[in-house]
């Protein structure tokens, strides 16, 4: 792959020395790991016989929180992401609007969802409301960036044609821009629903509600059979979301 043998050997040497250094600096508590093997067996066993019943009300509440969070946050996120995305497209917005909107996008993408969740939990208290805000921010960052990038790549001929008929700004948006980007926007939104549900199963770990909180509690109590049941529910819903999103994207994109 690499032409010069000198560079090739240097690269190999570099990789080898990195690996040696990395392995040397990992401290692993091997006695703890060997205990872990027994636990892994227990964990696996409880996956085969998941226990849905003994914590069912907690599981149910967590699932409902996750699902409602996903829906409301996606809707709120799309409502906010569309205007921001329009503003962040260089071919539509004046430079100062462009600057502000790109700033908002960069800020909402800067930190991982779970860190954003930590802050929202600190500000708004525990519970799904903080999770809703987290997922909304994450939806804005994801959708408005991709929407803006899409709008910047549209066919300018159609915009020109509509503008030549004497259309105003909103008419240009409606007839020349929207028709070109909406199929992809629908596809991306479906994809984001899927991602939001996955995230909603995680941000509960820091107190933002949802099924992640239930899972965290179950693992803290070493109730592996309940944890297995929760994981099966997560995997089931994620797969349903993924196939649903895939079907919608095939239809529109």
């Amino acid at each position: 792959m690499i032409e010069s043998p000198l560079v090739r050997w240097a690269a190999l040497l570099g990789i080898a020395s990195y690996l040696a250094l990395a392995f040397a600096t990992i401290d692993v508590n091997w006695t703890r790991v060997s205990e872990g093997v027994v636990r892994a067996a227990r964990l696996f066993e409880s996956f085969i016989s998941p226990n849905f019943t003994s914590r069912w009300s907690d599981i149910q509440q967590g699932t409902i929180e996750s699902l409602t969070m996903t829906v409301t946050a996606t809707v709120a996120g799309v409502l906010l992401a569309v205007p921001i995305g329009l503003g962040a497209a260089r071919n539509l917005a004046p430079w100062w609007v462009y600057g502000i909107c790109r700033g908002v996008i960069a800020a909402s993408r800067a930190l991982q969802d779970i860190i954003v969740a930590i802050f929202f939990v600190a500000m708004f208290g525990f519970g799904p409301f903080a999770g809703f805000l987290t997922l909304t921010v994450s939806t804005i960052g994801f959708l408005s960036k991709l929407l803006a990038d899409d709008i910047e790549e549209i066919d300018p001929g159609q915009v020109e044609a509509i503008r030549a008929t004497g259309a105003g700004f909103w008419q240009v948006i409606d007839f020349a821009v929207a028709s070109q980007v909406i199929p992809r926007l629908i596809g991306l939104t479906a994809y984001k629903v899927d991602i939001n549900f996955r995230e909603s199963s995680v941000i509960g770990i820091v107190g933002a509600g949802g099924i992640g909180a239930t899972l965290n509690t179950a693992l803290d109590r070493y109730e592996f059979d309940t944890a297995g049941a929760i994981l099966l529910i997560i995997i089931g819903i994620v797969m349903a979301c993924e196939y649903g999103a895939g079907a919608i994207r095939k239809r529109f994109a």
Partner: protein
């Protein structure tokens, strides 16, 4: 071209959509609004609104505590940073090795058995993708105890599905003519893979791996929140002791790491393509 009749019986010209389609679309929107309102009501049933109203004050208070950052704390973050990079890199490396073999088992045109191995490989890929790295982290910390090892394996388990899926799709899309040509020379199955398939998927393979490494850097910075070592662990400790000036230093460090990895992957990707 659908036209509509008014009450007087005259045709009123061309319409973009039929009445039926318009009505259905309105119903769809109505259902969406109803669903959202319902979800909102259910979700906020337990919300304490006085906490929400209090949020601006809490936010101001929080940022007041975080500033100024305790800069000298950065010196004790080099080791967690190194751990974070190791978790991402070694996890990606393990995942690449496992996912490559899985991808060959899962791809329709290379799998040795359509009935047993392909569904099995697809199941592993789907299961690995469905569970977030942080959830894998939770499980592995419960099993192996806290530490970098749990983080490495969590990253690897999550990445196997990602790399495996993209790679097997790449394998399914290769040009069969080249494989045929190699096979026609009397090459063994191993030689067909080396000379017929690998050269075609190598660019995709490199891009996928680098892309996943970038995501893994992002994920490994927060994996410590569940006890898996690295910068996230330092963050967790500082949060638990309410050491907000340290939290801001850690966040800046995480941000810098993520930006650096994005820059690096962009460079590498340009070099590959």
């Amino acid at each position: 071209m659908p036209t509509t009749r008014t009450a007087t019986g005259k045709t009123s010209g061309w319409r973009f959509k039929t009445w039926r389609r318009t009505r259905l679309e309105w119903l769809g929107w109505l259902a969406l609004v109803a669903l959202t309102v319902l979800c909102w009501r259910v979700m906020t049933a337990g919300t304490i609104w006085s906490f929400v109203e209090d949020a601006p004050r809490q936010a101001a208070d929080l940022f007041g505590r975080m500033l100024p950052p305790r800069w000298d704390y950065a010196n004790s973050l080099w080791r967690p940073l190194w751990d974070t990079i190791n978790m991402a890199t070694l996890g990606t490396a393990i995942a690449i090795v496992v996912a490559t073999s899985l991808a060959f088992l899962a791809a329709r045109n290379t799998t040795p058995s359509m009935l047993v191995l392909r569904p099995l490989a697809l199941f592993v890929i789907v299961a690995s993708r469905s569970v977030n790295a942080l959830v894998w982290g939770l499980l592995l910390v419960a099993v192996l105890g806290p530490g970098v090892l749990a983080g490495i394996i969590a990253i690897a388990l999550r990445s196997i599905g990602f790399i495996g899926k993209l790679l097997y799709e790449a394998i399914e899309e290769i040009d069969e003519m080249q494989v045929e040509a190699i096979r026609a020379t009397g090459a063994s199955p191993a030689q067909v893979i080396t000379y017929g398939i690998v050269p075609q998927i190598l660019p995709a393979f490199a891009t996928i791996s680098v892309f996943r490494w970038d995501i893994n850097i992002r994920e490994s910075t927060v994996l410590g929140l569940v006890g898996a070592g690295g910068l996230g662990l330092a963050l967790e400790t500082s949060l638990n002791t309410l050491a907000w000036p340290q939290v801001s230093v850690i966040l800046l460090m995480i941000l810098a790491t993520v930006v650096f990895s994005e820059w690096l992957t962009a460079k590498v990707r340009k070099g590959i393509l």
